[in-house]
Symmetry: C2
Subunit: 250 residues, 2 copies
DNA sequence: CGATATTTGTCCGTATGTATA
DNA sequence: GTATACATACGGACAAATATC
């Protein structure tokens, strides 16, 4: 019989970390990876307790934490079920990661995976209306909600103007805040171009999903109030954790 | 040496069908299936001539036809290359298949694959604001451009109101025309919900793509000028042949 | 840089089947 | 039936652009 605890041994964990948090994140990982899919019933608390080698009350504490995050729902006499936790992300003129999540009652933020400077490719230069091979600041960013990765993106910013932006994003976890620090009080999205792909291994690893599960790729351009392009982003969304919603108003 | 003509014998073809049309559709199929991907160079005319067992001039006629359809582009001295033929489909309040294609300079239309009446599922009833298990007209529709399948959709229409709609769609190849015949002079799209999936075998077959290549699924609701829902559609778009574009205006 | 091979573009021709007047 | 026009298919030659070394 396969036990989750045997494939990811608890022994390796930080001894100061309580068992229940480790078990909770193990279960969350199993759900995110698709071992348990929305609608599935988790093994009973007693079975989980045996698998992880802990008391049932410890499992209950883990499940309660997952429940409060909206990942599972327990029903007395029936079992604990994986919730359909796909997040609606609204694509609109004023798209803000934070606002999108808080609207769904979730907590999350952005994490900078890598920052570097390069010269613009043809596609980047044309999207940002720059001369070919202009200098750019490139940020690889991971977007999360409740510890679950929702998207990874490569974001390009014109460089004399937005030098040092990476530090602010890394500190605040917000692009909007970083733009504000660079004297961009407001910005809007001009266009989004959506395609479906299989993720390359790096993207799949960041999204913690198998490369055989598809992702949504969104290419977008943000412009400041003067209409000058300030950001060209390619974002990969975990296909089954995210619903992109387009609200068609006038 | 492997020859395409041996794996797909020309002998089996309709004797009245010219070789060059058969070869053209074979090549188009290989491109659509992904055997040759955008940017790839096709084998040289001489190689193709040998493979298909025909004269080079016959191959040239086939390629000329593909070229006129925009599937390939030939460059003297270099070769014949598969064009990046992904179509931009704009998601907007007034989304019309025909207009989208003609804007891209393409010819295409809708083909009714199946028509039937059922009772509404929970999702359909809620989207169309109907009582559960109301009667619906269900249409399976294939959308094409230049003979290349772009999307398949299952479209649900409330039934006392839109009886006979299928006949008009089948005849005109246009949903808009069918709505017009049912006294709906204008309609708009309320919302689009976009996800990435792997297609089930039936959808993949209709789109003529392997089930391992992802598709975009778009759930949408159309309403008449009074705001009454008149259509709930689930559309699967061939992921690499379609770019969904969202233009963000005010 | 030049020499050479490859690949498409264009022209000459021949032969055959089919539709039309 | 005959003549004409057209589409199809094969054969060959060379020019022009490109790739490769």
């Amino acid at each position: 019989m396969t036990s989750i605890s045997s494939s990811v041994p608890l022994a390796k964990a930080d001894p100061r970390e309580p068992f229940w948090t480790r078990i909770a994140s193990d279960l969350a990982d199993a759900i995110v990876r698709g071992a348990y899919r929305p609608g599935d019933r988790l093994p009973s608390e007693n079975v989980l307790a045996e698998q992880f080698g802990v008391h049932r009350h410890t499992i209950r504490k883990s499940l309660a934490s997952l429940c409060s995050k909206g990942l599972v729902r327990s029903t007395q006499g029936s079992g604990t079920y994986v919730e359909d936790f796909a997040v609606d992300l609204v694509l609109a003129k004023r798209t803000r990661h934070q606002h999108n999540l808080s609207h769904a009652g979730l907590k999350g933020g952005l994490r900078v995976l890598r920052a570097r400077t390069t010269r613009a490719t043809k596609a980047q230069a044309s999207a940002l209306q720059l001369a070919p091979r202009s200098k750019l600041l490139l940020l690889d960013v991971l977007g999360e909600a409740e510890g679950v990765p929702l998207h990874v993106s490569e974001r390009a910013f014109p460089l004399p103007r937005f030098a040092g932006l990476d530090a602010v994003v890394a500190e605040t976890g917000s692009i909007t805040a970083a733009f504000l620090a660079a004297d961009v009080a407001d910005y809007t999205r001009r266009e989004s171009r959506i395609t479906a792909h299989l993720p390359d291994p790096e993207v799949a690893a960041h999204l913690r999903q198998p490369p055989s599960r598809p992702v949504l790729r969104v290419d977008s351009v943000n412009v400041d109030t003067a209409g000058v392009p300030i950001e060209f982003a390619v974002t990969w969304f975990a296909g089954d954790r995210v619903h992109l919603v387009v609200a068609h108003h006038d």
